[in-house]
């Protein structure tokens, strides 16, 4: 039982660590690159405009998709690793 508890706690910690990492990328591409840091990216031209605009209208969405699939894939591995999958 004690082992179960520590195992479960470690699983939850691994999950939280993965979530925090993904959420940092999530915030960085959308709030960062597309909005707040856009002036810094204005020197990088992309198809008639700059990288910030690309992130605002395309890049963030593509990154979001990548993040969810990465998360789902990593979590499946973590589920198996801790024996908590279905």
């Amino acid at each position: 039982m004690a082992d179960d508890k520590t195992n479960a706690a470690a699983y939850w910690k691994a999950n939280l660590r993965l979530i925090i990492g993904c959420m940092i990328v999530w915030a960085f591409v959308s709030y960062g690159c597309a909005i707040l840091l856009r002036p810094l990216l204005s020197g990088i031209p992309v198809g008639g405009t700059d990288l910030g605009f690309w992130f605002a209208q395309q890049g963030s969405i593509l990154t979001f998709i990548g993040l969810i699939f990465f998360y789902a894939w990593r979590m499946n591995r973590i589920d198996r690793q801790f024996g908590l999958g279905e």
Binding site: Y11, I19, W26, L36, P39, V46, G47, F53, Q57, Q58
Partner: protein, 598 residues
């Protein structure tokens, strides 16, 4: 065959398909009615979620909003997709593990409180009903434009179709109908976009076309668009607009509002396993992105097409934009698509300076006043409704009539699929949370099914009534729906999963704090219950608290919710041990199969 007959054929065929699916997928038990039996494949569920999510507003209005707002309107793109990252990581898997039917069900059980359950039902109903009004009016507009019936008749037809497949099929019928509706709406959206991208840039993929070279002028499309709109006094299309804080807050509000909207959350209860809930969120976003990555391309290309139609000399390579702007098209030479949209009143022309030409420019820009006087212009002469950007696209690009029929079917599919999802969220909250869990716990399965169907029928009648007699605030409803979902349901779900210490007193006071602050802020600027003239402060940036727009207030309400809930829960006793164990168990996927067999 006339355009009308073609539209009728496409819309009629798609309706026959939806009803056929509903008959095939009749719900036989409450489990089938609420969660489609719980055995939906993650890809199927992703497709249904995408149709559920993409409303008439996404299909018809979003590209127009982006065309008008350029870079500033990116909030809609990021906000309405970024919420799925939150859903996939912070909500969907745990709520699926919990294995109940509705969102208030989780809140009521997790916070062991009937009061919490009822407050959640109220928040859910306010958020969903305000949202469904827009869907019904949207369906009415689409019908009246394409089937040439009055908009009120259109709303009745829409109500009858939703009634047929939602009342009998429940979640099971809705799920498979939404899959069909997704296919119809995405084909309808992308086909015209592909042709327009080909015409303008030679690249058939719109999302790449928008960043490539404009064929006729030889310069990048977006640069061309910036040049053209600036020459006419409009704000640069890709340029920064300054209002970074509100752009930030509005994006955040749309993201957490998306994650908190009950009709989206309940879709994740239909998959068999916790892992499937994670995958399913990813698939939902893939299917949503097919439209959301195309929309900005449609927007920029439609805007450029519109400008070069009015100013033909701006089409090719231009050395002198001043000279090109002096020669707008003669009114009598306007293309057919402008003529046909003038009939609907969505494009209007007034010849202010009586020169027989269409001057289309930004007459509200003070820096442009000098140029305006120099050219002898006496005000903007063309008013174009944003909503026609998607609907008029096939005509602007001279596509065959069947594409217009397809767009008609797609727009109606988008409105109906979202309306059905919202109506299901409302009716299951009433029949399951209010009737079974609060008023009459002894109700039989059969009785609960009947209650679910009656409340669904009632919800459809209410939605139809509100669609026919939209309250004055119809335009503000999206802000309200997102604000409430963001400020009440989202924080309480998050705390229910991530804090074992959160108790019922904290959750209840938090929800009330979020609800009250958000409503007060919206009512202060938009009028009490949105009744015009009762607002205490004018809705202008100078009056806003710290410059926060009412549209972007959701995250602030959520913050109030978190803060109050945290403070109250620390000051009161921790939740009972069995609840703390329940929260622990929600965190681990193992045993979700057991949890579903309620």
């Amino acid at each position: 065959m006339s355009q009308f007959a073609i539209n009728l054929l496409f819309v009629g065929a798609s309706f026959a398909l939806y009803i056929g699916i509903a008959v095939w997928a009749r719900a036989g038990s409450t489990k089938e009615f609420y969660v489609a039996g719980g055995g939906v494949h993650p890809i199927t569920n992703g497709m249904a979620t995408a149709a559920d999510w993409m409303s008439a507003a996404s299909f018809i209005s979003m590209a127009g909003l982006i065309a008008a707002g350029g870079y500033g309107a990116s909030t809609f793109l990021m906000g309405w997709t970024g919420g799925y990252v939150i859903l996939a990581m912070l909500l969907a898997p745990y709520l699926r593990k919990f294995g109940k039917f509705t969102v208030p069900d989780f809140i009521g059980d997790r916070f062991y409180s009937r009061t919490a359950r009822v407050i959640a039902v109220v928040c859910l109903i306010v958020a969903s009903v305000t949202y469904v009004i827009g869907q019904m009016t949207g369906a009415g507009v689409a019908f009246s434009r394409f089937l040439e019936v009055p908009s009120s008749v259109g709303i009745w037809i829409a109500a009858a179709i939703v009634f047929l497949y939602a009342v009998f099929g429940g979640m099971k019928g809705i799920t498979y109908t939404q899959v069909a509706q997704y296919v119809v709406l995405i084909i309808a959206y992308t086909i015209p976009a592909v042709f327009i991208a080909l015409q303008l840039t030679g690249n058939p993929i719109p999302m790449f076309g928008m960043f490539s070279t404009h064929t006729e002028s030889g310069i990048p499309l977006l640069q061309k668009l910036d040049d053209v709109v600036r020459a006419l006094g409009f704000q640069s299309y890709t340029g920064d607009n300054g209002g970074k804080m509100n752009m930030f807050l509005l994006t955040l509000s749309l993201m957490i509002g998306t994650a908190g909207l009950p009709h989206v959350i309940i879709r994740f209860f239909t998959v068999p396993k916790v892992a499937d809930a994670r995958w399913s969120a990813g698939w939902a976003l893939v299917f949503i992105a097919l439209l959301y990555l195309t929309a900005p391309a449609v927007a920029s290309m439609a805007r450029l097409n519109l400008m070069t139609t009015i100013y033909p000399e701006m089409t090719g390579q231009v050395d002198d934009y001043e000279a090109a702007a002096a020669n707008p098209i003669r009114y009598e030479d306007r293309p057919d698509w402008i003529r046909s949209w003038e009939d609907t009143g969505l494009i209007t022309f007034t010849d202010h300076n009586n020169d027989g030409r269409i001057q289309f420019y930004n007459d509200t820009n003070p820096d442009f006043a000098g140029t305006e006087a120099e050219r002898g212009w006496a005000g903007n002469e063309l008013v174009v409704n944003n909503d026609i950007m998607v609907l008029a696209n096939p005509e602007i690009a001279n596509l065959p009539p069947w594409v217009i029929g397809l767009i008609a079917a797609g727009g109606i599919a988008a409105a109906l699929s979202t309306a059905a999802g919202l109506l299901l969220a409302i009716s299951s909250a009433i029949s399951h949370d209010l009737i079974k869990k609060t008023i009459n716990p002894n109700i039989t399965e059969k009785g609960e099914m009947r209650a679910a169907r009656i409340s669904m029928a009632g919800a459809i009648l209410l939605a139809t009534y509100l669609g026919l007699n939209p309250p004055g605030f119809a335009a503000q409803t999206v802000a309200l729906a997102f604000g409430i979902a963001a400020a009440t349901l989202f924080p309480v779900l998050m705390m229910g999963i991530f804090s074992t210490r959160m108790n019922s007193a904290g959750a209840i006071s938090g929800m009330l704090a979020g609800l009250v602050t958000t409503l007060l802020y919206l009512f202060t600027y938009l009028g009490w219950f949105f009744i015009p003239g009762t607002n205490m402060l004018a809705n202008t940036p100078e009056n806003w608290l710290f410059g926060i727009s009412p549209l972007g207030f959701g995250p602030i309400g959520a913050l109030a919710n978190f803060a109050v809930a945290f403070a109250v829960s620390r000051a009161t006793a921790p939740p009972p041990v069995e609840i703390q164990e329940l929260v622990e168990s929600v965190r681990y996927p193992k045993g979700a199969g057991m949890a579903v067999s309620h």
